[in-house]
C-alpha cells in the first residue's frame, strides 16, 4: 500500500543523488527502516524491482534494507531496553515515563554505483 509511495520517494531522491555524485550505473542502495514503521520488506523489494525500470541508471540496482529494532529509554530509572510489542513500559520499574530512541528511522544510508 504505502510502500509504493515510499519507494517512489526513494527513487526520486536517488535519481538526484546519482546525478550529483556523477554515478553511471547504480549497483546498490542501502536503506535503514525502523521496525516501528509498518513497512513490509518483501513489499518494498517487489515495488523496487518494478519501479526501478523507469529510472535511468537503476536497471541493475539492488535494494538492501536493514531493519532497526525499537529501543526505548526509561526517563525514570534510566534503563534502556528493546521492545517487540508496542508497550512503552519500563520492565525494570514499571514506569511509563519512557521515550523511543530508535525504531522510527527511514533513510537512505549509502548508494553504490559505477564511476
Amino acid at each position: 500500500m504505502h510502500e509504493g509511495a515510499i519507494v517512489h520517494s526513494l527513487l526520486e531522491s536517488a535519481k538526484e543523488i546519482r546525478i550529483k555524485e556523477k554515478l553511471k550505473e547504480i549497483t546498490e542502495i542501502k536503506i535503514v527502516v525502523g521496525r516501528f514503521h509498518q513497512i513490509i520488506k518483501e513489499v518494498m523489494l517487489t515495488n523496487f524491482e518494478y519501479m526501478k525500470t523507469e529510472y535511468n541508471g537503476f536497471e541493475n540496482a539492488v535494494l538492501n534494507m536493514t531493519e532497526e529494532d525499537v529501543k526505548v529509554k526509561c526517563n525514570y530509572c534510566g534503563h534502556e531496553f528493546s521492545i517487540d510489542e508496542p508497550i512503552f513500559m519500563c520492565p525494570q520499574c514499571d514506569s511509563f515515563e519512557t521515550e523511543l530512541i530508535t525504531g522510527k528511522e527511514l533513510y537512505i544510508a549509502t548508494m553504490e554505483g559505477t564511476k
Binding site: 554515478l23 512503552f88 511509563f96
Partner: protein, 216 residues
Amino acid sequence: MDKKEVKVMQKILNMNDKIAEELREELSKKNILFINLMSSPGSGKTTIMERTAHEFGTKMCVIEGDIQTTLDAERVAKAGIQTYQINTGPFGGDCHLESGWIKSAMEEIEMADLEIIFVENIGNLVCPAEFDVGAHVNAVVLSVTEGEDKPLKYPLAFQNSQLCIISKTDLLPYLDIDINVIKENIKKVNPKMEVIELSAKSGEGFQSWFDFLKRS
C-alpha cells in the same frame, strides 16, 4: 569497472517532510490551527466534523480526503462551512494523504477569518500514519465498536498522534467493551497521549473537545 560508494544519510520522505514543515510554519504565522484526523472507515470523523461545524461555524474549514466521491464534503458543507475535497483516484488510489496534496488544497482555501483547518484523512490506520501532512495536532478517532486492542494493532498511528478521540460512547451500554481497557492500551502505546471521550450522536463529551480546540 570502477565502483564508488557514497554516504547519503538522507530521509526517504524528506520532500514530504519539508513541505509539511513549511505548511505548519505558514499556518502558525496566520494563527490557524491545523488538525489531522485519522481513523478506520466509519469511526465517526465526518459526524464529528458536522457537529463541530455547528459550534465553530465559518471559522473552520474541512479538507476531506477520500479515494472517491464527494459525499463527505457535501455532508459537512451542509453545516455552512468551507470544505475542500481531495480525491486520490478511484483505481489504485492512494491510501493516505501526503503534504503535497494538502499544500494544493490550502492554495484554494479562503484563509481570511479561519481559526481551524481539519483534514479528514483517508480511512485506514496504517498508511496515513507514515506521512506528515503538516498538522499541528495529529488525532486518532477510535470508536468504541472497534475493539479494545486497536491501539496495540496500529501503534504508529497512536505513537505519531497527540490526541485520541474515543467516539460513539453512546453505544457503550450495548457493547461488551470496557472503555478503561481501551484507555490502558492507548497509554501502553503512547503514555503522553491525551484522550477525549465523546458521542457525535448525543453530543456528550463535546465540551472537552471544544476546550481542547480552544487551548491548542
